[in-house]
Assembly symmetry: C2
Homo-oligomer: 165 residues x 2
DNA sequence: GCACTAATGCAATATTATAACATTATATTT
DNA sequence: AAATATAATGTTATAATATTGCATTAGTGC
């Protein structure tokens, strides 16, 4: 598990994520192109989920002509397909996967205040989902869990400091 | 629990949902207006989640001037606030709540083939979520679970032929 | 080089959702 | 009933998110 406390050497997260992505693509004979790398780096810029159009802004800074939305969405599709990022449907946003390679669904704790999305251990949740689904003879393909609340660092702090409200 | 088998008297679901909504609004001194009723009826037209703009089409059929999007979204907000419908973020769609009154989050099984969304028992899932969140000292406010797969009626059938259309 | 495929560029558009302000309906008080 | 207040709806415009379709470019194998 990674250090998700609010004061951590985040550059390490970014470097680590990019390195693992590079390795994973090499292993699978996939192309980790500049665009894909830039998009992944942007997603990993912090632990807050980031929207496609925010990523687009970042891409624009790095290129002469402003890229169009499909550029971002295609890169995101690639990263999603290869388990390098997760999409958080309730936020229409994307976040780096903390455990790529092992294909899995993202289950997230999302802090209302600092917006940090922490991937939670699927092993604790999936059995409960499997059991509940089995009750209805439902065959699970994918499952996503999105929990909203307050993280340990934020839940004692006053509300007003949030970007949200 | 309600009869969600594929051959059921669905008119009963609709009538029941509308009746309970009417009662709930009366109890809480809320106005169950024509628009809200129409929107709820559309959401309950079947067990498949329905998009806001599809609801808008239905509203258009019932009124002289075509309503604008805010009309639908405001009615949906009302219904969401009062636990009469749930929003399924991964589909940008809305589905009737099978247990209104008891304020709760929707946890859903969504069939890839027939698209029916079945609300699953939160009591089986929430403890697991609570436990996983507690591990990270995270305070849960709301949690949503969206499971995609094949329902009992569909999961042995060949792709492409749904029982209910 | 040539053919093939994957990736990207690019223009247009689709889909989902909200903001801001005007008007109408309902309820409450007088 | 008139006056006021509040909630609901109408209306216009626009924001935010995402996709389609087709052209072009880059890399790969022959």
């Amino acid at each position: 598990m990674h250090d998700l406390s609010h004061q951590h050497n985040h550059q390490h997260c970014i470097d680590d994520a990019l390195l693992r992505a590079r390795e994973l693509c090499q292993q699978r004979n996939l192309k980790f192109t500049r665009i894909r790398e830039l998009v992944l780096a942007t997603v990993w810029a912090n632990h807050q989920p980031v929207g496609a159009y925010t990523i687009l802004e970042e891409l624009a800074k790095e290129s002469i002509r402003r890229p169009a939305p499909p550029t971002v969405y295609r890169a995101l599709d690639f990263l999603l397909d290869n388990g390098l990022v997760h999409r958080i449907a309730s936020l229409n946003a994307f976040v780096g996967c903390s455990d790529p390679g092992d294909a899995h669904q993202g289950h997230f704790l999302i802090c209302r205040q600092c917006q940090i999305a922490t991937e939670l251990d699927a092993k604790l949740i999936n059995p409960a989902i499997a059991a509940a689904a089995a009750q209805q003879a439902f065959t699970v393909e994918t499952a996503s869990v999105e929990v909203v609340g307050y993280c340990a660092q934020c839940h004692h702090k006053p509300q007003g400091e949030s970007v949200h409200e």
